[in-house]
Point group: C2
Chain length 362, copies 2
C-alpha cells in the first residue's frame, strides 16, 4: 500500500484517517506494569502477540523481561521467527500436511518452540511428522471453563500427556489453559489435580501456563501456574475498561477518524467502518467510544462508514473535516486490518511500525 505514512514529529491531526494510533507512554506503562506484577509473584510472563502483531512491540516486551512469545498459528510464529524471536509457544492444534511440514521447518530454526494439543489426532500428526533428532515440545491444552478447545478433565490431560511422552519425537512440555472463565480457583484445581496425577505416574510437568488479559493481575491466585500469557493488556480496550481490568488512562490505542458528512442535525458519518473498527461488539450495543463527545453513539457500521447518532450528544459534535478519536471495543481485531500503525507521544508521531503478522490465519 503506497500510503503516505507520516514522518516522526508530525502532529496526529495531520495523519490521514482512519488510522489506529498507539500512545508510547501508555504502551510502555502497560508493558512495565504487567511484567512487574509477574516478577513480584514469581510468574514467568509470555505475551500473546495477537494484539500488536509487531516485532517492534514484542521486542519491548522481551526487553522488559518476558521469557518468550505466544502465537496462535504457524504463520504467525514464522513472522516472529523471521524477526529473530527464539522462544515461541503456539497455543493451537496444528493439523494437516501443509501446516505440519511448516511447523517442522520452524522447529529447525527456533531455539525453543512448543505447541499444544487436545486430541489424539493432533498428537498422532505431530508424532509422525517430527524426528528424534529434533523433537517437538507439546503441552496439553485444558478446558478450565472457557468451553473452547481443551481436554475436559485432569484424567484426560494425563492420558494425552502419556501419549505425548511415549512418542519418540515429542516431548511432553506441560499443560496450558485459557482463560479463567470459571475463576482462578477452577484453573488452580484443574492444574493441581493434573500435576498430582502426572506425578503419581512419574511424569514431569515443567510448564503450567495460564492465560488471558482479564486474568493477568489475578495470576497469583493460580499458584500452580509457572507462567501467564496475555495479549490485550498491552493496548487495552473498551471491553477491558468495562470489565474493570484497566482504566481509561491505560488505553494505548485510539483510532483517528474524520467526519465526512453531517447529513442531518442528529447524524454524523465518520470515515471508519467495519474495515477499521471491525464489527466486534463484545457485548456492547455500539462500535466504540468517541473521545470528548459523550453521548454520541456509533450506532451502525458499513465497510467504510460509521454512522453516529447525535441525539444524546452532550456537546456540539465535530464538523465535516475534523478528526475525532475512537476507543475501540476490541484492539486485537483492529490491528489485523492495517499494514502499518502509527505511534505517538503527546500527539506527535514517534514511529510507524509494520504489522508483521497481519493476516496470518494459517
Amino acid at each position: 500500500m503506497n500510503y503516505p505514512w507520516p514522518q516522526p514529529g508530525t502532529p496526529l491531526e495531520q495523519v490521514a484517517t482512519p488510522m489506529p494510533v498507539i500512545d508510547e507512554e501508555r504502551l510502555a506503562t502497560n508493558i512495565a506494569r504487567a511484567q512487574a506484577y509477574c516478577n513480584s509473584h514469581g510468574k514467568r510472563f509470555r505475551p500473546h502477540i495477537k494484539t500488536h502483531k509487531m516485532a517492534a512491540v514484542a521486542r519491548q516486551q522481551i526487553e522488559a523481561g518476558a521469557i518468550g512469545l505466544n502465537c496462535q498459528k504457524v504463520t504467525e510464529a514464522e513472522a516472529f521467527a523471521d524477526a529473530g524471536f527464539d522462544d515461541i509457544l503456539i497455543t493451537y492444534n496444528i493439523l494437516g500436511p501443509t501446516k505440519l511440514a511448516r511447523l517442522k521447518a520452524l522447529n529447525d530454526r527456533v531455539g525453543k518452540l512448543a505447541v499444544v494439543a487436545d486430541s489424539e489426532t493432533t498428537v498422532d500428526g505431530l508424532a509422525s511428522t517430527f524426528g528424534e533428532d529434533r523433537p517437538l515440545t507439546v503441552l496439553v491444552e485444558c478446558d478450565t471453563g472457557a468451553k473452547r478447545c481443551g481436554v475436559q478433565t485432569p484424567q484426560a490431560a494425563v492420558a494425552l500427556a502419556e501419549k505425548i511422552a511415549a512418542a519418540p519425537a515429542l516431548r511432553f512440555g506441560g499443560i496450558m489453559t485459557y482463560p479463567a472463565v470459571g475463576g482462578a480457583e477452577q484453573v488452580e484445581r484443574f492444574m493441581a489435580e493434573t500435576m498430582k496425577l502426572l506425578s503419581d505416574k512419574g511424569i514431569d510437568c515443567p510448564v503450567r501456563s495460564s492465560g488471558g488479559s482479564p486474568d493477568l493481575f489475578a495470576a497469583h491466585l493460580v499458584p500452580s501456574a509457572t507462567e501467564h500469557r496475555a495479549g490485550t493488556y498491552v493496548y487495552n480496550d473498551r471491553s477491558m475498561v468495562r470489565a474493570g481490568h484497566c482504566t481509561t488512562d491505560d488505553l494505548a490505542m485510539q483510532i483517528l477518524a474524520t467526519v465526512v458528512s453531517r447529513p442531518a442535525p442528529d447524524r454524523a458519518v465518520l470515515d471508519c467502518g467495519s474495515k477499521a473498527l471491525t464489527s466486534d461488539l463484545l457485548g456492547f450495543t455500539d462500535y466504540g467510544t468517541i473521545v470528548d463527545y459523550a453521548g454520541a453513539q456509533i450506532v451502525s457500521l458499513s465497510e467504510e462508514h460509521a454512522v453516529i447518532d447525535l441525539q444524546g450528544c452532550q456537546v456540539p459534535f465535530a464538523e465535516i473535516g475534523q478528526v475525532v478519536k475512537i476507543i475501540p471495543n476490541h484492539t486485537c481485531v483492529v490491528t489485523n486490518l492495517f499494514d502499518r500503525i502509527v505511534f505517538h507521544r503527546d500527539g506527535f508521531v514517534t514511529r510507524v511500525e509494520k504489522v508483521d503478522a497481519r493476516g496470518t490465519v494459517w
Copy 2:
C-alpha cells in the same frame, strides 16, 4: 505472506485452511445475469469492487459489459487505476489535504474519474484542489432513506449541484444514491424531482446512479436512473439468500475450515475465527452456515477459533482434521482479510488471485 498457495488442479481438500474459495461457474453466472438484466432494461451497470477487491474479477465484469467501476476510497481507486481501469466513480466525500492531493494525481491518469459530495465543505475542498486544465466530475450524493450520507432533499441536491457547476475546476456529473431502503418509488421520486428542479435552472444531470445488490434486480423500477451500482451480487452471501435476493445456488464464495478440536460431544472448534469470517452478524445470531451439517451452529468466534454448538446438528459432525465449508454472513468483509483468494471449478483449483485492494481504507 509466504503461504503455500495451491497450484491449478489441486483438489480443494488439499488447500490449507481457513481459505475463502470462489466457484468459477457461479461467479460467471452471477456476472452474466446482472449484466443481462441491466442490458435488457437499458441501464448501464457499474460494479462496486468492494466485494472482490480484485482486478481479475473486475476485468470479468468489464468484459461482460459493465461501463466502469465503483470504488469507495481514493486508495481503492488507485489500486484499480494501477491495474489499468479507466472509468472509476468514487462514491465518497474526499476531505483533507493528503487525500485531495492524491485524488488530483489520480484524476491526471484516469480517463473518467468522478467523486460524490454531500456538503459545501467537500465541494470547497475539491474546488480549491483541482484546476481548470483538468477538471473533476462531481456527483451529488442523495439520501433516499438509507440514513447514511447524502443531502436530505431534492432542493438541497440542486443547491449543491449549482455550487459544483459554478466552480471552474469542477463539473457537475449528476446524482447518486444508495441503497433503496425506502423502496424504488422513494428513489424514483427523489431523482425525478431533482431532475425537474435542475432542468428548470438549465443544469444538465447526465448521470443518475442508483445502488445496492438488494436493489439490483429492481433497478428497472427507478426509470430516472441511468446506471446501477452493485457489489455483493458477484459472490452473494447468506444475508442475500435470507432477503430473497438470490438462492443458495448463486453463492459463489465459501470458506474452507478445518475441525481442530472436538472437546465435548456437543461442541466442535474450527480454525476460522473473526480473522477469517469477521464478526458481521447482519441480523443473524450466528456467524455463517456450515454446508452439509444442518443444525450445527457457529455460536461464537474468537480471532482464530469458531466454536460450533452441535446440539441441534442432524448428522454426525466432521471429525478432527476434516474440512468443512462455510457460507459467510457477509462476503465483502471476508475478502478484506485475505491477501489472495483461491478460485475453483468443481472442487479443483483454477487460479489464485491477489486481493489488490485489501486494506485500502483511505
